[in-house]
């Protein structure tokens, strides 16, 4: 093998090797430019002599290529398996997110129900609060009613006065009866009957005075008892009711404030969690979209594999026909393998690297 042929073979080999060791998008560009620089040499120069080392070199090249084939196929399998694993894991993540959304939706509904209940309770409590706020007025009304009662008691007290009058009349009647008895005594036997009547009148007057005294005493007792009871009850009930009303109103206000705080807290919590969940759902969609790169890489590797297979087939023709090893045809066939590969590769998008290419056709086109 002459030096030129060895150099050409090395260049070709390096080109293919570069495809496996460099990132795909960078490798494509490098290989493309190298090809255009080296292609004339490859097409015109005989690649191998029919010398003694020729066959060994070809066999060696085939073995290396086949070894690369195996590695590339393994890469395809492993990346595919990894992609499937990622999808499965992301699906699990998505299911968790979906469960969370379901839970939040349910919780949201329950919160709405709770909110309705709270609003209803607040309304009821508002009524109670209003009632309690009006309670002092009611108590005052009751107090006035009690005062009326006292007035009536006072009216009863007039009975005492009436009894006083009866008592006075009774005393005066008694005096008149005594005088009548004296006059009856002066009248002798003619005044005897009159004296009996006078005694009877005096006795009745005494009884009337005594009864009037009992009435006055009883009325006074009733008055003092009722008055004392009403005063005590009014004082005790009014202050106690006012105290309780104040406590209840304060509690109601606190309760309303707590409800509002809780409602606001829950609302904020739901908003935040929902936002995070939506971001996560969006990230899941993007992650799943990125899995497509595995297919893009797979197809690129399969094009490399196809080129390698053709490369080995061309080399095999040199092994089968030693005369071809020294023929320019071998070099041309190998160059054609590369040309075909690059043309095929150029028909496909460059995946991760083609977003910034202004001349490239749009990635999305609707007809």
């Amino acid at each position: 093998m002459d030096a030129e042929s060895q150099a050409a073979a090395r260049v070709l080999w390096n080109k293919l090797k570069a495809r496996f060791t460099q990132p795909f998008h960078a490798a494509a560009e490098a290989l493309h430019s190298r090809f255009h620089r080296q292609a004339p040499t490859l097409e015109t120069a005989p690649l191998l002599d029919a010398g003694s080392g020729c066959q060994a070199v070809i066999e060696h090249a085939q073995k290396i290529t086949q070894s690369f084939d195996g590695s590339l196929r393994l890469v395809i399998q492993e990346t595919e398996q990894s992609a499937v694993d990622i999808i499965t894991q992301v699906r699990g993540l998505d299911q968790t997110a979906t469960h969370l959304i379901d839970y939040l939706t349910k919780a949201d509904q329950e919160t709405l129900d709770l909110q309705t209940q709270i609003e209803q309770s607040t309304e009821i409590i508002g009524h109670i609060s209003q009632f309690l706020q009006n309670l002092p007025v009611k108590i005052e009304t009751e107090r006035q009613a009690s005062t009326e009662l006292i007035d009536r008691i006072n009216a009863i007290m007039k009975l005492g006065e009436m009894a006083d009058t009866i008592s006075t009349i009774s005393r005066q009647t008694n005096m008149v009866a005594i005088n009548a008895a004296i006059q009856a005594a002066h009248a002798g036997k003619h005044g005897k009957g009159f004296a009996v009547v006078a005694d009877e009148v005096r006795r009745l007057a005494g009884q009337s005075g005594e009864t009037a005294g009992h009435i006055i005493h009883a009325v006074e007792n009733i008055h003092s008892t009722v008055r004392a009871y009403l005063d005590d009850r009014m004082h005790r009930d009014f202050s106690q009711d006012m105290q309780e009303a104040t406590h209840v109103i304060e509690s109601v206000h606190k309760l309303q404030a707590s409800y509002e705080d809780m409602k606001q807290y829950y609302k904020t919590l739901m908003t935040v969690v929902k936002e995070y969940n939506m971001n996560m759902a969006s990230a899941i969609v993007e992650t799943l979209g990125n899995i497509q790169y595995q297919d893009v890489v797979r197809q690129r590797l399969e094009r490399v594999l196809a080129a390698q297979t053709r490369y080995c087939e061309v080399l095999q023709t040199a092994l089968d026909d030693p005369a071809r090893a020294s023929s320019p045809d071998l070099g041309q066939d190998l160059a054609q393998v590369l040309t075909d590969y690059l043309e095929e590769d150029s028909r496909h998008g460059q995946g991760m690297g083609d977003d910034g290419d202004d001349d490239a056709p749009p990635k999305i086109e609707l007809f």
Binding site: I87, V285, N290, I291, G349
Partner: protein, 123 residues
């Protein structure tokens, strides 16, 4: 619920795109090659949209579109090509076969959903 028919020989493509579309509320049916896809269409599957790869064993994507357009129920069904192929000539071939649009892999999930919503109004 609208049904989307995914046709691709890549397991990962079918799995990942199915998840994206299902998450967006679509029902998804799949086929791993053009021949199987055509059989499903002839067998009664009535998708609202078909998304197909180009390079597959058996029928290619463009061949599948040609055959699908021959079937009366699918004369106007939107069909999107989703492929690594990006050359203009191939796009024109797809358009002539009856493709509704051309998407070059990989397409971001949100971009894919935007296109789907564009060709499926009301979704």
């Amino acid at each position: 619920m609208k049904t989307i028919f995914l046709v691709d020989d890549s397991t990962t493509m079918l799995m990942s795109l199915s998840e994206v579309l299902k998450k967006a509320g679509f029902q998804v049916e799949t086929a791993s090659n053009g021949t199987d896809a055509l059989a499903q269409l002839k067998g009664g599957l009535k998708p609202d949209l078909m998304i197909t790869d180009q390079n597959m064993p058996g029928l290619t994507g463009i061949e599948l579109i040609r055959e699908t357009r021959k079937l009366p129920p699918f004369r106007f069904t939107p069909i999107l090509m989703l492929t690594t192929e990006s050359q203009q000539a191939k796009r024109q071939e797809g358009k002539a076969a009856g493709a509704t649009g051309w998407l070059v892999k990989p397409v971001a999930g949100k971009d894919l959903l935007a296109v789907v919503k564009q060709v499926l109004p009301g979704t």
